[in-house]
Symmetry: C2
Subunit: 428 residues, 2 copies
């Protein structure tokens, strides 16, 4: 048994069998497993903190980039946050079995769309042990089996979290294989990505390299959680205080997340006020890379290259460009952006409307910070990630986005043809 | 210009530019193009019929399988049916811009999910010139640009239909490249399947070989319209007259379509009545291949092999198996079926419920013919095809299934952090 669990086909087969049971499990059972996991996080907190310390030491010894190491942290505060998050996921309504209103057709057939689980979800991510907690709970609550492949940097911590899921599921009388935390080699992962007969969806979450490799390799449908090159466009006549607040929040609150602002676009009519906004950014420690007009107006701005407009810094850096008007702003965003999250700050109703319609992004905001691109802010309770794809799910993904549906049709003997039509087969 | 239209990148680039305009076009404009196309089908009917005659002759000369040749027909009756179908598509509500109820969040943000087009859709299909009419109208009405690659068997007919779309779009002041009917080589198609930067979705529609090749080759997301191995399960205590009607309609009305019944499963308690159902099938010209118990009860039944349970005959053939009970029936369907369309005929409420929950298919029916797996029957007005995938769309696909969505968030200066939080970047 232990042997089969270690090889990729064994893992996927076990997941696929577990998916049948977890797909039919009651909400109470699934919630019981989430509850047990939360209890274990509290009980074994000390063990997790020291495992995380080992991971961090190993990471520093092997020269892991500081940014990745920062995401690897799983101390007391992060563990408490996870316990709270599990409480929120437990409280979310179960999407499985939800019926989207029955339509009675003229012939008497009753047609209902019913939500069903997707099946087996393979999640591939870097660092961030908290994903092991979150994604497991999310996939399972939506009735799916999850295969979670975290980065080798988080091996110790993920190992313990995997054990804890195993026990939590068993305590709730669910198959332990409904959430498998694995640490296979790149070859093993490549093998999994070819098992379209057993796995229904792959979600890669991490840097551009990871996402591209997975997309190329996979025969299974992929939901990309790719880079966020997010913009704030300051329109002519924008309220400057409001604009500055939104710019600072979008850049400085959490510069390391995918929905942080990377490029600030300023309408040329606002150019006289550009130094004021730039000063506020600089005062908060942000480095500015600007177009020619920006460097002319802001002495400490470095010149930006064409590459800067496409760059996700995830850092206290911002690129700044002066544009003629909202049209040039929209064009810049659709051309250089990553269709993730973009903001217009404006007092004009017609330009707000144009921006919202024409910017081709998952989340488009008027007079609000990019930080609100997040499942909790949008009323989904929590999120498993932010899709940069258009198919199936776009933007923050909640429980519903981890399900599919089936059509259920109830009749009392309806047929489409008349008996004389059933002879058609006889006359080719 | 003509040259760029012929090479794959030129085609995809033109489609991607046209998608921007058609995505922003009004419903009236899109309906005008559909109306113009319907008028042209009527006007140039004679020309289409003789082009189709050429295609048919060439097909017969090159020994095209008779089944494929049958689908190639595009005579007066089929053209009239297309004109009617265009009228129905024109009458459907435009999905683009539809808002799914605005939620006001506690912080005053107004969050709305708004439907948007997918972008560029590449459709690859065999024979059937009617798809060139239908799919073009469907994709365009949902605000997308379409690249339609029909089979070489239908080259003459598709060429004229392509010209007609070109003219119809121009008459409606829409870019002619919003619907491009192409006839490129397999190498050209392979090139298109690698342009994930320009094309948003691929829909292959045809035999298993076509669908598998496209799925393997494509870097673009694929929505498979694959085989239909559909079942009718006759439960103990089923009304025999009703059961026979449903079986005959599911098999004999249109044996060539993907939702025709291919396997009949009979509960062993109904075994004494099996000859009666088999006789009705035989009387309508259906060949029966059965399990051992079937061949014992029905003298003219041929023995079925394991391969038969997985076969989509698309013909006047049915495989028949006696199963112990509903559980064995469900197991057979989930194991051998193609997760397409399956029926239970029963008077038992509890077994109907179990069948509906546990059969993992896009469409599950109780006491009705498999023929009702169809967009019009389900109230979608019409359909562009039937997805056998779970992601994005499952079962019959209407206009909504050819769209994505974006989140639109309107605020009045909301930020997430307090000013002291914006200093975080300063203290790593």
């Amino acid at each position: 048994m232990e042997n089969t669990e270690k090889n990729p086909r064994g893992i996927a087969t076990a997941a696929s069998q577990a998916a049948v049971d977890v797909g039919r499990a009651s909400t109470l059972q699934k919630n019981a497993a989430i509850h047990a996991m939360a209890a274990k996080l509290a009980e074994r907190q000390g063990e997790l903190v020291s495992a995380n310390r080992c991971d961090l030491e190993a990471a520093r010894a092997s020269d892991l980039p500081e940014k990745l190491a920062a995401r690897l942290g799983f101390g007391k505060a992060k563990i408490s946050a996870r316990i709270e998050a599990l409480g929120r996921i437990k409280a979310l309504p179960d999407p499985v079995g939800a019926a989207h209103g029955t339509k009675l057709r003229p012939n008497g057939l009753a047609v209902t769309r019913v939500r069903v689980p997707l099946g087996v979800i393979l999640m591939i991510y870097e660092a961030r042990p908290h994903v092991t907690v979150n994604a497991g709970a999310f996939c399972m609550k939506a009735g799916n089996a999850a295969i979670l492949r975290g980065g080798s940097e988080a091996a110790q911590c993920n190992g313990i979290l995997g054990e804890m899921w195993h026990e939590s599921l068993e305590e709730a009388d669910l198959p332990a294989e409904a959430i498998q935390v694995i640490s296979g080699s790149h070859e093993d992962v490549a093998e999994l990505l070819h098992m379209e007969d057993l796995i229904d969806l792959v979600i890669p979450r991490g840097g551009r390299g990871l996402v591209e490799t997975v997309t190329k390799e996979s025969l299974i449908p992929v939901l990309k959680h790719s880079a966020g090159v997010c913009h704030v466009y300051l329109d002519e006549g924008a309220d400057l205080d409001q604009a500055t607040r939104i710019v600072l929040d979008s850049k400085c609150l959490m510069p390391e997340v995918c929905n942080a602002m990377e490029t600030l676009l300023v309408c040329e009519r606002l150019e006289p006020h550009l130094p004021q906004v730039a000063d506020a950014l600089q005062a908060h420690g942000v480095t500015i890379r600007g177009c020619q007009r920006t460097t002319a107006a802001v002495p400490y701005a470095e010149p930006a290259t064409d590459e800067d407009w496409r760059t996700e810094y995830l850092d206290m850096i911002v690129s700044v460009r002066v544009v003629e008007d909202v049209d040039e702003g929209i064009e810049h965003i659709n051309r250089y952006g990553s269709h993730h999250t973009d903001v217009i700050v404006t007092e004009s109703r017609s330009r707000a409307r144009r921006f919202v319609r024409e910017v081709d992004s998952a989340v488009v905001l008027v007079n609000a910070s990019t930080m609100f691109c997040d499942g909790a802010s949008l009323g989904m309770g929590a999120e498993i990630g932010i899709s940069t794809d258009k198919l199936h799910a776009r933007g923050p993904m909640g429980l519903n986005e981890l399900t599919s549906y089936k059509f259920v049709i109830e009749g009392n003997g309806q047929v489409m043809g008349a008996p004389e039509d059933w002879r058609r087969g006889l006359t080719p």
